[in-house]
């Protein structure tokens, strides 16, 4: 097996046993990035010098016997996380000149653990998109078929890990932006409970929904990396002050007796039959291992997409008001006056989808419309959360597909925003209710001669990451879908 197809756990074991050095790994992955990243457009910035310096420092630390379990492992960060002294663009023209003056907490914690920074990955502009086609730096391509999208918004992270250009990468998930690209590229993608991972230094989109997480080759890797990023942070006012469990130690929890609820509403029209079949097969595999399976109904869940497209744009319109052409970011040439400076800097700096969402949010919050849209959506959001709560009184996890279809072709859904928004029909509910959720590979469908990955989604009660990871890990002991690598990237 080559270095680049190994999991983080395997790389960590190899480093500990001195089978290779961190510098070996950094050089190997940087070489692959140089050769293969351009055809995928997976990175905005490759931090080669930094990676080599990090790797040398990690090797010294390991040599002194002071390394931790992740010291020397190379990773990539989504370009939404601030990295001190390194360009941090959020894939927007607005921030195309922004050198972050500090590290995000997630970046800082992984750095302290001795992980090596390979680069910053491409994404949908300000994380607004489901196909990675809204990036100022151009679309990312899916390594399983480069004519297709990798999903979004963490599409660069997904493509980079799927193509074995990095062993793991961070993502952020506001409406499915970790899980949907993970599903479309055959990765494990974990969105933790709201508040589990600090949002400090993670450029804000919709603050009541945003949560950082990971895209990895296995549930075990997700457990390892979540442990190194989660936990209380006084600099994030919604960070939850609760102990972080040893997620790796809890991976061994057996499937026997786990109560699994199959979400009826996730198998309605709109789900591609081939995807549905693979998801049902995976659920049957869990049942055969001793999980008890029953159907659950969450009747308000079909309203999650319209609810989201009120709440998220509302929060985005507020968050993105900070980009004013004054303190950082793009400024237009020769502004006539202050108003002209604001309007043209923002008009030029933001792409179409970002402007569309800012305006949607401005409208639903404006005088006379607030009650009809924003307040109404926050009430429906309560109904959706209550549906989940009722289900979790009877089952330990709920389960269904991650996305209604496998990866689609570039340009296929860009003409109508609603068509694009409906990609996230199964993922948004977890964000609205603040729940942890994971997508894991469960097989492939064939389209136009290509194998396209399909994801299985598990959603649990607040702070049930251990359970989600353990069920996923047990499933990955039975199957090897997650170890498949796309042709040309082995």
């Amino acid at each position: 097996m080559s270095l680049h197809t190994l999991t983080v756990a395997e790389l960590a074991a190899g480093l500990a046993a001195r089978r290779f050095s961190s510098l070996d790994l950094a050089l190997h992955f940087l070489g692959r990035i140089e050769r293969l990243a351009p055809e995928l457009n997976a990175f905005v910035t490759v931090t080669a010098d930094r990676a080599l310096a990090d790797a040398r420092a990690a090797d010294e630390r390991l040599g002194r016997g002071e390394g931790g379990p992740l010291t020397g492992v190379p990773v990539a960060h989504k370009d939404i996380f601030c990295t001190d002294g390194i360009l941090t663009t959020c894939a927007s023209k607005m921030l195309s000149n922004f050198v972050a003056p500090y590290d995000a907490t997630v970046v800082e914690r992984w750095r302290a653990a001795g992980m090596v920074l390979l680069g910053k990955t491409n994404m949908d502009e300000f994380a607004m998109g489901s196909s990675n086609e809204t990036s100022f730096y151009g679309p990312v391509r899916n390594p399983w078929d480069r004519a297709r999208v990798p999903g979004g918004s963490s599409g660069g992270s997904a493509a980079a890990v799927a193509a074995c250009l990095a062993p793991a990468a961070t993502g952020t998930d506001t409406g499915g932006s970790i899980r949907q690209p993970a599903a479309l590229t055959n990765l494990t993608g974990l969105k933790p409970t709201y508040g589990r991972v600090s949002r400090y230094g993670m450029i804000a989109f919709a603050s009541s929904l945003d949560q950082g997480g990971v895209l990895t080759r296995s549930a075990e890797d997700a457990a390892l990396l979540l442990g190194a990023m989660a936990g209380f942070d006084r600099r994030d006012s919604t960070s939850v002050d609760a102990p972080v469990p040893d997620y790796v130690a809890e991976l061994g929890q057996p499937l026997k007796g786990v109560r699994v609820g199959v979400i009826r509403e996730f198998f309605d029209q709109g789900l591609e039959p081939g995807v549905g079949k693979l998801v049902r097969d995976a659920i049957e595999a869990l049942r055969l291992q001793g999980a008890t399976v029953r159907e659950v109904s969450l009747p308000a869940l079909p309203l999650s997409v319209p609810t989201y497209y009120v709440v998220a744009p509302a929060e985005c319109s507020s968050n993105l008001s900070r980009f004013d052409g004054v303190r950082f970011g793009h400024r237009c040439d020769s502004p006539r006056d202050l108003l002209d400076l604001y309007k043209r800097s923002r008009g030029e700096g933001f792409g179409d989808e970002v402007k569309r969402r800012i305006m949607t949010g401005t409208y639903v919050l404006s005088a006379g419309y607030y009650d009809a849209y924003y307040l109404k959506a926050q009430k429906v959001r309560q109904l959706i959360a209550a549906d989940f709560e009722r289900a979790f009184a009877e089952v330990d996890v709920v389960i269904g597909p991650t996305a209604p279809t496998p990866a689609f072709e570039l340009g296929a859904k860009t003409s109508d925003p609603i068509t694009m928004y409906l990609n996230d029909i199964y993922t948004i509910g977890a964000n609205l209710a603040g729940l942890p959720a994971i997508s894991i590979p469960c097989g492939f469908v064939q389209e136009a001669g290509k194998d396209l990955p399909v994801g299985l989604q598990l959603i649990g009660p607040h702070f049930s990451e251990s359970r989600l990871l353990a069920v996923s890990h047990q499933y990955q002991q039975l199957t090897d879908w997650h170890r498949r690598v796309p042709n040309g990237y082995e």
Binding site: V99, P101, Y194, G195, S208, R234, S237, T238, L303, V305, P306, T307, Y309, S317, S321, D324, V326, R327, F328, G329, P335, R336, D337, L338, L339, D340, L341, Y342, K343, R344, R346, G347, E348, F350, D352, K355, R356, I358, M359, T360, T362, Y363, V364, Y373, L375, K376, A377, K379, V380, R381, Q382, L383, A385, D416, P417, I418, Y421, A433, G434, H462
Partner: protein, 96 residues
Amino acid sequence: MSLTRPQVEAIAHLARLEITEAQMPVYVDSLSRIIDFVEQLSAADTGGVEPMAHPLADQVQRLRADQVAETDQHEKYQQNAPAVAAGLYLVPKVIE
């Protein structure tokens, strides 16, 4: 069209976004579609339902003591500013 062009122009102004003449009809169309789409929420029965303010029901906003906790790093932060002088951010003249 649920939104008119004057309405979209007013929204763009409130949002401080310059929209080009060529793009305006595109936004009128796509924003109308989005508003029509979210309109389906009005059919939901939300009588007696409290609007959700936080995804974790038992969380309260944490407060800290009103004490200086950060050091002055304005020079570092202002390296990202389009125009500064003497530690101040420069903007076009606001008061004649």
